[in-house]
Structures are given as structure tokens and as C-alpha cells.
């Protein structure tokens, strides 16, 4: 198993796409972190020196998880896109192990990207004076920790979706569109108590968000996110294991 994870890490390290994605995550985080700094003090935006501005800047690290999600999807679908899946599954006939190794490798990369994104957001915050040690309190620390721990879980969800829908463009577009846009739309159409149990609701709970109605406790949010990830990964594994590979 260790050898498999190392092989996956080698693959991620030596192809261009993961690096492009990491750069995307950094640029996205920087852009989102600078946004509240530029807006500070203008209509409706919190001023520098308030906890709200600090949360907005550190919260910029919360969107980079989507990039790790895409990385997870690509880790699986690229094998089918380029036809290397045959060789991979000939090398390791137990396909489930390959998927678990991919999940583990993407989670490790997710942690690394989370650290980089936190560093980027903190740098913007410290340089602009928005992040000040006296403003930090346990709730804010929990929020940042939750946002960062969500990265590897996003990656695992990506691997699950990639295994489930191996057609790369669809597998990439669907979860992104769902998280960014479609879930909000869908939640308008279902009874209100469902919302906290959605992916966005679970993430809000896990990242200690204060602006989500009926938010679940942090631990429940974490368990729910892990549950979503494992459920998708299991379904994806079942699908891959029984699939004809050409």
C-alpha cells in the first residue's frame, strides 16, 4: 500500500496539471484575500481592525479546497482519459487499492495546499494589518482549522466522483457547479431543515461558520463531510471494480 501511495505521489509530482492547480489555488486565495482589504471601510464592508475583516481575509483560504477537489477528480479520470488505466490495473489488480492510494495521495497534497493557502492569506492579512494577534480568539482559530481540514476531504470527494463518473469534463464540471452554484439553487426548492445536511451546510458546520441558519455542531459537520466523501468513494470503487477497462 505504501508503494502505491508513493507511486501516486510520484505521478502527481511529475505531471504538469497538479502544479497548475496549485498555482490556481494560490492565485485564487490571494485574489479573495485582497478583496476584503481593498473593500475595507467602503459601503457595507468591515473596516480594518475588526474581527469581521480578519475573518474575511483568512476565510479566503476556504475556496482553495475546490482546487483540491478538481485534483482528486483528475487523479482518477486522467488514467481513463489517457488510457493508462489498463496498465495501472494490470500492475495492481485489486482496483480498490489503487483508488484508496489515490485518495490518500490526494489527501496528503490537500494538506500541503491548505498550508500554502493559509500562508498566502496570512501574508496578505499581516502585510495589510488586517490580521492582528490581539484579534484572534478560539472561535476564529476553529474556523481556520476547519476550513483547512476541509481541503483533504474535498480531495477525497473528488476521487470518489472521478471514480463514479470517469468522463473527465463532466466529472470536473459537475461537482464544481454543484458546490459553487447549483446547491444553493437546489436548497431553495427543498424544505428548509434539509439545508444544514447539504455539502455546503456540512462544510459551514465543520468550519465553525456563524452565518449559516440552523448550523450543525462542528463535530457533526466533520462526520457528515467524511461520510459524504466515504460514500462517494465507496460507490466509485464499486463502479470501477466492476467496469470493463479497455
Amino acid at each position: 500500500m505504501r508503494a502505491l501511495v508513493r507511486a501516486e505521489l510520484l505521478a502527481l509530482r511529475t505531471i504538469r496539471m497538479p502544479w497548475a492547480l496549485v498555482v490556481t489555488a494560490v492565485v485564487l486565495t490571494a485574489a479573495l484575500a485582497v478583496d476584503p482589504v481593498l473593500d475595507a471601510g467602503k459601503a457595507g464592508a468591515p473596516s480594518i481592525g475588526t474581527a469581521a475583516a480578519l475573518l474575511a481575509v483568512l476565510g479566503a483560504a476556504g475556496r482553495g479546497g475546490l482546487v483540491v477537489l478538481v485534483l482528486g477528480v483528475l487523479a482518477v479520470t486522467a488514467e481513463f482519459r489517457h488510457g493508462t488505466a489498463s496498465a495501472t490495473f494490470l500492475g495492481t489488480a485489486q482496483r480498490a487499492r489503487v483508488l484508496v492510494a489515490k485518495g490518500a495521495a490526494v489527501m496528503l497534497v490537500g494538506v500541503a495546499v491548505a498550508v500554502v493557502d493559509l500562508a498566502v492569506a496570512s501574508t496578505v492579512g499581516l502585510a495589510s494589518g488586517v490580521v492582528h494577534p490581539s484579534l484572534l480568539n478560539p472561535d476564529i482559530v476553529l474556523r481556520v482549522v476547519g476550513l483547512l481540514l476541509a481541503y483533504p476531504l474535498y480531495g477525497l470527494i473528488g476521487v470518489g466522483i472521478g471514480a463514479l463518473v470517469i468522463y473527465q469534463p463532466v466529472a470536473v464540471l459537475l461537482p464544481l457547479a454543484w458546490v459553487v452554484y447549483l446547491e444553493d439553487l437546489a436548497l431553495h426548492l427543498v424544505p428548509r431543515p434539509v439545508a444544514p445536511w447539504s455539502v455546503g451546510g456540512a462544510l459551514a458546520a465543520f468550519s465553525n461558520a456563524g452565518d449559516f441558519t440552523d448550523v450543525l455542531p462542528m463535530a457533526v459537520g466533520g462526520v457528515l463531510l467524511v461520510g459524504y466523501a466515504l460514500a462517494l468513494l465507496s460507490l466509485g470503487t464499486v463502479r470501477i471494480v466492476r467496469r470493463d477497462i479497455t
Binding site: 481593498l38 464544481l176 439553487l185 426548492l189
Partner: protein, 244 residues
């Protein structure tokens, strides 16, 4: 050229992606419409039977236009994705004509899709008792405008697909552009740029109002400039490229 366009139309008609995208457009439109309908009577929501509500309901087809954009992207990139482009270019060695036929086919297909979405949205609104059954001249002008808008979305999709070619990247880039980058623009004090960006121009063309929005015909020219700016270099690159 007519034969090429006909074969592109045949391909659109007989591949699953087209119908999947059409279904997605319907679901997105109806989803948005359901949200508008459920908001009736709420704060700031347009009243039952008002012209604002009619516009809001017909406007829900705007979300479905994203699927039309994707139709263009997929039409331009799927031959590269599935490597069928080799035989296509063997049969029609003048590659520019193939790309032109794809653009024409998508521009032909998009307006009827827009009309279908509008009919569905309007019928749903009437059935829900939210708007009256009389068709006013404004409704017809919305239909005409939407047909042009849909063709523009499809052409923009073709442009993105031809310029990028990698289907996965070509599918994500518009999503990120319209949902992330253009929404961040005002925060950076660049609001003056918005009317000149593809999303801002498409909004103005569709009749959306915001500070600095161009007149519809200027917005149309801006969109066409983007289509050409994407399509011409992309087509040049494809013409000179080794196809395996």
C-alpha cells in the same frame, strides 16, 4: 459548406451530449423559475400578474444559457477529446471550413433552444397562475432578443473550445470566468471594465441593466469581437497543427 453544416447538425442531433445539455438547460431554467415562483409575496419580490414577474420568469432561461455555452465548447472540443478529428480533417482537409461549419451549426441550433426554454418558462408561469395568458409585444421582443443572445453564447462557446482545445480545461474556464473572475471585478475598483468584458456585454445584450451597461448593439459588437479574438488565433493554431 452546406454539406458540412448538415453533417455537423447530424452529429449534434445524434450524440448524447447535446441532449444531456438540453436537459441540463431545462432543469436549470425550471429550477430558477421555481425559486422565483416560491418567492412571490416575499419582500421585494415582484407581484403576481405584474410585468416584472413576467420578466423575472422569462429571465430564468438565462441560467439555461450556460448549457448553450457548453454546447459550443463541447462541439468544438469533442473531436479532439475523442480523436475523431483525424478522420474529419482527412475527409475535409480545409480545416477552417470544418470549424466554420461547427460554429454555424451551433449558431443555428441555439436560437430554437432559447425559444423552447422560453416557451417552457412561460407555460410554467401561466400554469402556476403567476402571469396571464395574453402574449404582449414585450414578450415577443424578449423572444427575439433571447434568440440572438443564445446564438452569441453558442459562438462564444465555440471560440473558447477552439482556443483551448483541451475539453476539461475548456469546460472549467468559462465557469471560473463568469462565476468567479467577473464577480470579483467590482471589488478591485474595475467596474468601468465590466461593460467591455464578455459576461458584462452578454448581460447588456440580454437586456440586463447595470451602471455603464452598453446599448444592445454595442454589446453585440463587443461579444462578436471576443468570439473573433478567440476563434481566429485558435483556428490558425488548429490549421497548422499536427493531428495524430
Amino acid at each position: 459548406m452546406t454539406a458540412l453544416i448538415r453533417s455537423e447538425l447530424l452529429r449534434l442531433r445524434t450524440t448524447r451530449a447535446t441532449w444531456g445539455l438540453l436537459a441540463a438547460a431545462l432543469v436549470l431554467t425550471l429550477g430558477w423559475e421555481a425559486m422565483v415562483l416560491s418567492g412571490i409575496g416575499g419582500i421585494d419580490a415582484p407581484a403576481r400578474g405584474s410585468a416584472e414577474l413576467r420578466d423575472a420568469l422569462l429571465g430564468s432561461t438565462g441560467l439555461g444559457m450556460f448549457a448553450v455555452l457548453m454546447l459550443g465548447v463541447v462541439a468544438a472540443t469533442s473531436e479532439f477529446h475523442h480523436a475523431t478529428v483525424t478522420s474529419t480533417f482527412l475527409a475535409t482537409p480545409r480545416r477552417g471550413r470544418v470549424l466554420g461549419a461547427k460554429a454555424a451549426a451551433c449558431a443555428l441550433v441555439a436560437p430554437p433552444v432559447a425559444v423552447l426554454l422560453l416557451v417552457v418558462a412561460w407555460t410554467t408561469g401561466v400554469l402556476a397562475g403567476a402571469i396571464s395568458m395574453t402574449v404582449e409585444t414585450e414578450t415577443l421582443s424578449v423572444v427575439a432578443r433571447s434568440m440572438v443572445v443564445a446564438a452569441c453564447w453558442a459562438l462564444l462557446g465555440i471560440g473558447v473550445g477552439v482556443a483551448i482545445r483541451n475539453q476539461t480545461v475548456a469546460v472549467i474556464v468559462p465557469l471560473v470566468w463568469f462565476l468567479v473572475i467577473e464577480t470579483l471585478i467590482p471589488a478591485y475598483g474595475l467596474s468601468w471594465l465590466l461593460p467591455w468584458l464578455p459576461g458584462g456585454a452578454m448581460t447588456a445584450l440580454a437586456g440586463g441593466r447595470y451602471p455603464g451597461a452598453q446599448a444592445a448593439w454595442v454589446a453585440f459588437l463587443v461579444v462578436m469581437a471576443y468570439v473573433l479574438a478567440l476563434l481566429v488565433p485558435g483556428a490558425r493554431a488548429i490549421r497548422r497543427r499536427d493531428i495524430t
